[in-house]
């Protein structure tokens, strides 16, 4: 019996040390929901017991059912003929299993058939599903679309669409990217026009749309004729019709199980979702933030699978009369992989906790009564919004880049065998490669995070983490390394912030990544130390991470402080030689 929750000590540690008291109390309206719904918890312990039991079932489905099907799904992929996408029968079975398990509306409110779970718990499911079959996550994770309708749609739209998602009857797609608008979504051109009765219609093209064959689409379109920037864009909901044509599906490097489609809109009727002109600036940003958390978890799940393959292979493969995991070059790789995995997970669930808090306070701000919106609520809403806005891109950058490295090393440890199609190593390597590209490249995550780094949004969190870690003993030694890094980091941030001349702009853009990475090293280092305090068995893991990070930190710091600017001046000569 393979259960992707119970066989994973790091994930269990995370689950056992959740700090969701405030979140659950808010989500459950001080546990008054239990009077209305027999599925609602009566107190925090009751809530966590429910989460654990549901996660246990998803862990079993992932380990026992989805994972064994994943190789065939990757091999065959979906089928496309006459404009119709047919998913692989095993993908269909996977979705049926998850629908029967009742987890297609995990974060949606109960009145629409959802489970009303925190994002943190949903993210744990995402991680386990991705470990079993990365491509399935792209279908399972489309619940974020329903969440967007839940957050910004009208009551009528919530009633109309959400129950269909929850039962698994309807699936979703978010149609943002166009041939000429990838990272630069402000330039989206798909046209939204209204007839004399106020009915909206969509005309144009979308490209690289994950699950573009979905029944329900959220579409970013230009509703304000004559505009060219993000403020002329609105969000629309439309249903699949014959006028919404799937022109082709892509042949991709990885995540073969899910169809990525090119769509043509031939005057497709649509409903406006939320307010006009807020499409990109508010709704898509929110949607993308949710999706970024999901992709962090997807990357983490793939990395977990890759690490396990590498570890297993290294312990079984013998060369020079011993298993290869006895060689320093190999165990060094494995130790870094494991530390990277634990670090990514620590940051991811710290992020989801902030995201959950932000969502709860956001909900009160948008739907609460005047009495509920106190000064304290306002401040917390603002604070967690800022924290989540830094942590989300930091987490995505860390998880996806680390996962890429882990999958790369997984093949390396397999040697020539890993290059062959017969082993899963090459599939993980192909699947993981998209994670640091879609929902915003790592380069764009840096852009999203750097503002908060310069504004020192995380200082309060960092200081309270430092305060909780003793200065003595072996953990104190590691704390000393981190506090040295923190002081230098603040110095480097200050150094750049003070460069205010307009000609310094390229330097700011160039060094943003170094600063964001160093912020991550310090913050995640502290999270790792905190977890070592909670469970001493984790101390070597924390030490591995902190010591590795300290060397990478120094490199970044040196580049910022002493790196010079030659690439800005001379890149043309270098590139064009």
């Amino acid at each position: 019996m393979s259960n992707f929750l119970n066989d994973n000590p790091d994930l269990l540690f995370t689950l056992n040390n959740l700090k969701l008291q405030e979140v659950v109390q808010l989500k459950e309206k001080n546990y008054s929901e239990s009077a209305k719904f027999d599925t609602a918890p009566e107190n925090y312990e009751d809530a966590v017991d429910g989460y654990r039991r549901v996660l246990d079932v998803i862990g079993e489905i992932a380990g026992e059912r989805i994972a064994p099907r994943s190789r065939q799904v990757d091999e065959d992929g979906p089928h496309f003929e006459n404009g119709k996408v047919t998913y692989h029968p095993l993908t269909v079975q996977n979705l049926e299993d998850l629908s029967k398990a009742g987890v297609m509306g995990v974060i949606l409110p109960r009145e629409y058939g959802g489970l009303n779970f925190p994002s943190t718990i949903y993210t744990m499911m995402t991680e386990m599903v991705s470990r079993a079959d990365a491509s399935l996550q792209n279908l399972f994770g489309l619940q974020d679309i329903a969440e967007t309708i839940s957050s910004f749609g009208s009551e009528e739209q919530r009633k109309k669409y959400l129950p269909r998602f929850c039962t698994g009857e309807a699936d979703g797609a978010m149609d943002l990217t166009e041939p000429d608008s990838g990272s630069d979504l402000q330039s989206v051109r798909l046209k939204a026009t209204q007839d004399e009765n106020g009915q909206w219609y969509l005309d144009g093209m979308k490209r690289f749309i994950t699950n573009g064959c979905a029944k329900i689409h959220l579409v970013l379109a230009r509703s304000e004729a004559g505009t060219t920037d993000g403020r002329g864009l609105s969000m629309f909901i439309c249903e699949r019709t014959p006028d919404l044509v799937v022109r082709r599906i892509e042949h991709k490097l990885g995540i073969h199980g899910v169809a990525t489609a090119e769509l043509q809109y031939n005057h497709v009727p649509a409903e406006l979702c939320g307010q006009r002109r807020y499409g990109l600036t508010r709704y898509v940003m929110s949607l993308m933030n949710g999706a970024r958390v999901a992709i962090s978890a997807q990357a983490l799940g793939i990395a977990e699978a890759a690490f396990r393959e590498a570890r297993k292979y290294a312990s079984e493969r013998e060369q020079f009369k011993q298993s290869i995991d006895r060689f320093p070059a190999i165990y060094d790789m494995l130790a870094r992989m494991k530390a990277g995995l634990a670090a990514s997970r620590a940051l991811l669930y710290e992020t989801t906790t902030a995201v959950d808090l932000r969502n709860c306070y956001d909900e009160i701000m948008t739907r609460g009564t005047k009495e509920e919106i106190t000064q304290e609520v306002r401040e917390k809403a603002r604070y967690y919004k800022e924290v989540a806005a830094v942590l989300t891109p930091m987490s995505k950058a860390l998880s996806t880049e680390t996962a890429n490295k882990i999958c790369y090393d997984c093949i390396q440890i397999h040697g020539g065998t890993g290059y062959m199609h017969d082993f899963d190593a090459e599939r993980y390597y192909r699947d993981v490669r998209i994670t640091n590209i879609y929902e915003g490249t790592t380069q764009l995550q840096v852009v999203a995070a750097i503002g908060g780094v310069k504004k020192r949004v995380l200082d309060k969190e960092i200081q309270s983490l430092f305060a909780a870690i003793p200065e003595t003993g072996s953990i104190g030694e590691l704390r000393k390394i981190l506090s040295g890094m923190y002081a230098k980091h603040l110095e480097a941030v200050h150094f750049l912030v003070e460069k205010k001349d307009v000609t310094d702009q390229p330097l700011h853009e160039l060094r943003a990544r170094n600063l964001v990475e160093n912020e991550t090293f310090v913050f995640v280092g502290l999270l790792m130390l905190r977890s070592a305090l909670q469970d001493p068995v984790r101390e070597p893991l924390a030490e591995q991470y902190v010591r590795d990070a300290s060397f990478d930190f120094e490199r970044n710091w040196n580049i910022v402080m002493n790196g010079g600017t030659s690439v800005i001046e001379k890149h043309r000569q270098v590139i064009d030689y």
């Binding site: 019996m1 027999d38 918890p41 429910g50 549901v54 489905i61 029967k100 398990a101 009742g102």
Partner: protein
């Protein structure tokens, strides 16, 4: 028409995950060394019942005989979609062999009543006898279809099922009520999150009492609360299901099977003997088996 289906399920030691000493010196199973699980083919039987519930109108009652801890598989069944659960538990039932078990379950079926279909797994992994289902049918005087893979039709009066036979399958039709034993031919649905959140709290009265340290008076309000929420698992003792004059047929007293000796058998290829499928051939074989004490 609203069908009523009873599914008999059993909690068994997980013989695939043996930790420590699985057998006691007396040849009985050391349950403490083995994790307790839902007998796999009983899950197939439950899945078939739930599929029938999806396709036709039916209520599904899951029933088990066993230790108080067997309530765990009843909760599991409720989380997968069963409508109600009944546990028959009593010291008087301890040590039952297939004869005593099937007798007790036949009386339990009568007590539950109103059924037109009884489903059992083909066999349990702790004994592999495949006798209990057919014996229940005999005792209830019901037609039976064993080794069922799927049901093709389920009307007001009859059922048509496909059953596995050596080298193929056959399709049988039987009048209701009927008993069927089910093989591993479907994929049991997972527990459903919404149902988990509700039914994880379902308990038998004795579980509630045990949680209150054995204080029945203290447990009463909680039992009432569970009952009012539909979360009380019905619990019956031997007296609730079996007339007192039949008590001799229960438990150890009602079980003629005795374990004489157990040994680990390593199978190797040996001689074989062809038996003609005639009355004489079978009779000669039976004599031979009696002589070497395999039978009798």
């Amino acid at each position: 028409m609203n069908h009523k289906i009873i599914v008999f399920v059993k909690q068994v030691p997980d013989t695939k995950n043996v930790t420590g000493q699985a057998m006691k010196p007396d040849g009985t199973i050391n349950r403490a060394a083995l994790p307790a699980i839902f007998n796999p083919e009983d899950l197939n039987a439950l899945e078939l019942a739930l599929e029938l519930k999806d396709r036709y109108q039916a209520t599904v009652t899951v029933a088990a005989m066993g230790l108080p801890a067997a309530a765990a598989i009843l909760r599991d069944s409720l989380c997968r979609g069963a409508d109600e659960a009944v546990l028959l538990t009593d010291r008087a039932l301890g040590g039952s062999d297939t004869l005593a078990t099937s007798f007790a379950l036949s009386r339990l079926a009568k007590t539950i009543g109103g059924y037109d279909l009884i489903l059992c797994g083909r066999q349990a992994i702790d004994g592999d006898t495949a006798q209990v289902g057919p014996q229940i049918a005999e005792k209830l005087n019901l037609p039976q279809i064993s080794y069922v893979q799927e049901v093709q039709d389920y009307t007001e009066k009859s059922i048509r099922a496909k059953r596995a036979i050596e080298g193929g399958y056959e399709i049988l039709e039987a009048p209701l009520p009927v008993l069927m034993t089910v093989v591993d031919a479907n994929e049991p649905r997972p527990q459903n999150a919404h149902r988990i959140l509700k039914f994880r709290k379902a308990k038998t009265p004795s579980e509630v009492v045990a949680a209150c340290g054995g204080d029945a008076a203290a447990a009463a309000p909680e039992i009432e609360k569970l009952r009012s929420r539909g979360l009380l698992i019905r619990e019956l003792g031997a007296k609730d299901a079996v007339p007192e004059d039949e008590f001799g047929r229960l438990g150890l007293a009602g079980s003629p099977t005795k374990v004489k000796q157990i040994m680990s058998v390593v199978l190797t290829a040996g001689e074989f003997k062809k038996i003609e499928p005639t009355a004489d051939g079978v009779s000669a074989l039976v004599h031979e088996l009696i002589e070497d004490h395999t039978l009798g």
